[in-house]
Amino acid sequence: MLGIFSRGQQKLKGMEKTTNTKEDKSLEYLDLLRRLSQEQGVSGREAKVAESLLKTLHPLVDEVERDRLGNVIAHKKGEGPDPHPRVMLAAHMDEIGLMVTQILEGGFLRFTPVGGIDLRTLPGQEVLIHGLSPLRGVIGAKPPHLQEPGERKKAIPGDELYIDTGYSKKEELEEMVPLGTMVTIERDLQLLANDLVAGKALDNRAGVTVLAACFQELTRLKHRADVYGVATVQEEVGVRGAMVSSYGLAPDLAVVIDVCHGDMPGVAEDEGFPLGKGPALGLGPHVHPRLFTTLKETAQEIGVPYQVEPSPTPAGTDAWAIQIAREGIPTALVSLPLRYMHTAVETLSLKDLKETGRLLAAFIQGLEPAFVEGLSCY
C-alpha cells in the first residue's frame, strides 16, 4: 500500500536542504501531487484526473466509484457496532482552464476562459490542447514592434489573445481540435526551498492529495465512522459537483478541503495566511461551530499547527453547497494556504498538506454517534 506513495527523491542541485530529515515525511506525497497536478481536468472534463485518482484510492478504501455527474466517491467502512457516523470529505478535482471557441486561418485558436482565469497571466504560456490527441501550443500576443507607446501599461485584452498551435493550415487543425476542446497550461511541478511546491492546478489537486493522505493515515487507525471521500467536479464554475454528491450521500457531517490565499507582498494579513504554519480552519456562518472547535482541539491534541481563517461567506468553496444540501449538513472548511491562486505557479507547502491529512484522520478517528446527534442541538 505504501508503494503507491513513493518518497520524493528529487534533490535540488546546489541547494542545501535545511529540512527533510529522516523523520520529516512531508515529501511523501510529492509524487502523487505531481501526478495529479499534471493531469488534465478542466471543469466538466475531469475524466483523466478522475481515472488517475480512482487508481490511487482503490487500495486504500473498500469501494470507489463515480456518480452521474462524475464525482469520484471513495468509501471506507467504519468498525464496531452500529450506528456508524457518516462523514463526507470533499475536495474538488476540477481546474480552471480555457475552451477553444474558434479556429483561425494560419493555425491559431481563439478561446474562452473556464472558471476564474486571470487573463494577465496568459501571454507567453506554454499550453496543452486536449483535442483528439494532445497538442502543444503557445499563448501569443501582439509582438512588441506592433504595440503603441504606453500599451505595455495595460493588460492585453482577452479578445486579443490566441493560441499558436505551430500548424499553419486551418483545415488541418479542424480535424484535430473540435470546438469545445479544453486547454490547460503545460507546467512541471517545481520544488522550491522549505518543501514549497509550485505548479498549476494545486487549487485543488492539493486538496485531493490531502484526501488520499487522510485515507492513507486511516489505514493505520481504528475508526467507527463510515468515511466517504469525494473528489468533486465543477467547483470552479459554481460548486456543482458538491451539490449533487452531498445530496446523494446524505452524510451526517462534511469537511471540505480546499485552498485559501497565502501570504505575499501586497496581500493583507487577514486575507493571506503564511505557508508552512499548518492548515487554516474556516470560521464563520458557513462552518458548524462545534466542528470548528473539535477540529481545533484535535489539532492541539495531536500537535498539528493550525491557523484560523475568519470569513463572512463560504462562497467559492464546496462548503457553500454542502451546508444547505437536503435538510442541512453540518460542514467545516479546512484550507491549505496557497500563494498566487488561479495562476500557473500556485505555491503551497508540502508540510501543510501532510499535516492536514493527519488532522483529518485524527478528527475522523474521534467521531462517535453521540457527537453527531449533538450537532443539531443548539
Binding site: 535540488l12 541547494m15 502543444r136 501582439k142 514592434h145 499558436d164 505551430g166 522550491l192 526551498a193
Partner: protein, 343 residues
C-alpha cells in the same frame, strides 16, 4: 538535438559561460583555432583553401534576455530588473531558474479574487513583480541566490505543430546552432565564427569582436520578429514563418551593404531556396555595431523568423532554420571576392 541543448542553456547577458562551454565543446573538432577575449566572445577560426581569399566574420550572439536579481527583501522574495528588452507582461505566472545552479523560483501575482476591477485591466510593472524561491527570510534566500545573478525562463524545448519548435532563447540560440552546424564544413574562404556576448544589452560584444578581427565582410546570423499572427495587419508582418530566412535591408541600427545583399539573394536564387525580405525597419542586431567598426565593415543580417521573441516560449519553423544554413553554406562555398560589399 543541438538546438534543444542551446535553447535550454543558461545565458543572460554577461553570464554566457554555460552557452560558451557548450558551443566550444561542439565546434572544437571542426576548427583550426579557438580563443576568447576580454568580454567573453568566443572565436573559432577556419582557414580557407585560399590563404589570400577574403576574411569573413560570421557572428551569432549567445546571450538571451533575462532578469537580474537586484534586491532580496526581508521576507526572502527576490526583486529584479530586466537584462535586455522584456515585455513585463509575459513574466507573470512563469517559473524561472536563477544562476547556473538553477535555483527554481516562480513569478507570482496576487490572486484574481483579491483584485479590484481596475487592477485587472492594468499591467503589473517590473517593480511590482518578484520571484518566490520558497525562502523564509532574507538570510535564507541569500544562501541560495546572490545579488547580480541572472534569472531565465524555465521552459522545456519541444516540437510543436508540423515542423516547428517552441522554447526559450531561440533568439539567438537558433543562430548559434546554425553557425555551429556550418562550421562542420570546409570552405574556400578564411572564416572566423564569433559567438558574441551582450547583444541584448546594446550590441556590446560584437563591437570589440569586429575590431579585433577587422574582417573584409561580416554576416550576422540572427532571429527576427515574425508578425504573421492574428491582430497584425499584413504590412506589419515583419517576417512570416516558413517562408525562408529573412534578409534585412534596413533596421534601427543598420543599412545592410547592398552588394552583399545582392550576393546573398543571388545565392538563394541559384540554389532555388526560399528567402524573404524583412518588411519592417524595426529592431537591431550585432550588425549595427559591426558595420561601424574601424573604417567600416560591409555587413548583412540573415535571420530566422521567430514568433514571441523574448518570451518564455518562442516559435520557429525548422525549414527556415535549415534554409538559413543552406543559404549561408552556398554563399561561403561560392564566396565573392575581397571587394564584395563595397561600392
Amino acid at each position: 538535438m543541438l538546438l534543444k541543448e542551446l535553447s535550454e542553456a543558461f545565458g543572460p547577458p554577461g553570464q554566457e559561460d554555460e552557452v560558451r562551454d557548450l558551443i566550444r565543446e561542439k565546434i572544437a573538432p571542426h576548427v583550426d583555432r579557438i580563443w576568447t577575449d576580454t568580454m567573453g566572445n568566443l572565436y573559432a577560426e577556419k582557414k580557407g583553401r585560399d590563404a589570400a581569399g577574403p576574411r569573413i566574420m560570421l557572428a551569432a550572439h549567445m546571450d538571451e534576455v533575462a532578469l537580474m536579481i537586484t534586491r532580496i527583501d526581508r521576507e526572502g522574495f527576490l526583486h529584479f530588473k530586466s537584462l535586455g528588452g522584456i515585455d513585463q507582461r509575459v513574466l507573470i505566472a512563469k517559473p524561472v531558474v536563477i544562476g547556473r545552479q538553477r535555483v527554481p523560483g516562480v513569478i507570482g501575482a496576487k490572486a484574481v479574487h483579491l483584485l479590484e476591477p481596475e487592477e485587472r485591466e492594468r499591467a503589473l510593472s517590473l517593480r511590482e513583480l518578484f520571484i518566490d524561491i520558497g525562502a523564509r527570510d532574507k538570510e535564507e534566500a541569500e544562501k541560495l541566490v546572490a545579488i547580480g545573478e541572472g534569472a531565465v525562463f524555465q521552459s522545456r524545448f519541444s516540437s510543436i505543430g508540423g515542423n516547428r519548435v517552441r522554447g526559450k532563447a531561440l533568439d539567438n540560440r537558433a543562430g548559434c546552432s546554425a553557425l555551429v552546424e556550418l562550421l562542420q564544413y570546409d570552405y574556400p574562404v578564411n572564416l572566423t565564427a564569433v559567438f558574441t556576448v551582450q547583444e541584448e544589452v546594446g550590441l556590446r560584444g560584437a563591437r570589440i569582436a569586429s575590431y579585433n578581427l577587422k574582417p573584409d565582410l561580416a554576416l550576422v546570423m540572427e532571429t527576427t520578429t515574425a508578425g504573421d499572427v492574428p491582430e497584425a495587419k499584413s504590412h506589419q508582418m515583419s517576417t512570416r514563418l516558413g517562408k525562408g530566412p529573412a534578409l534585412t535591408i534596413m533596421d534601427r541600427t543598420l543599412i545592410a551593404a547592398p552588394d552583399l545583399l545582392k550576393a546573398l539573394e543571388e545565392t538563394a536564387q541559384r540554389l532555388d531556396k526560399p528567402y524573404q525580405w524583412k518588411q519592417t525597419a524595426t529592431g537591431g542586431t550585432d550588425g549595427g555595431a559591426i558595420h561601424l567598426t574601424g573604417a567600416g565593415i560591409p555587413t548583412a543580417v540573415v535571420a530566422i523568423p521567430c514568433r514571441y521573441l523574448h518570451s518564455p516560449a518562442s516559435v520557429i519553423d525548422l525549414a527556415d532554420y535549415q534554409h538559413l544554413i543552406e543559404l549561408i553554406h552556398g554563399f561561403l562555398t561560392h564566396a565573392p571576392g575581397r571587394r564584395t560589399g563595397q561600392k
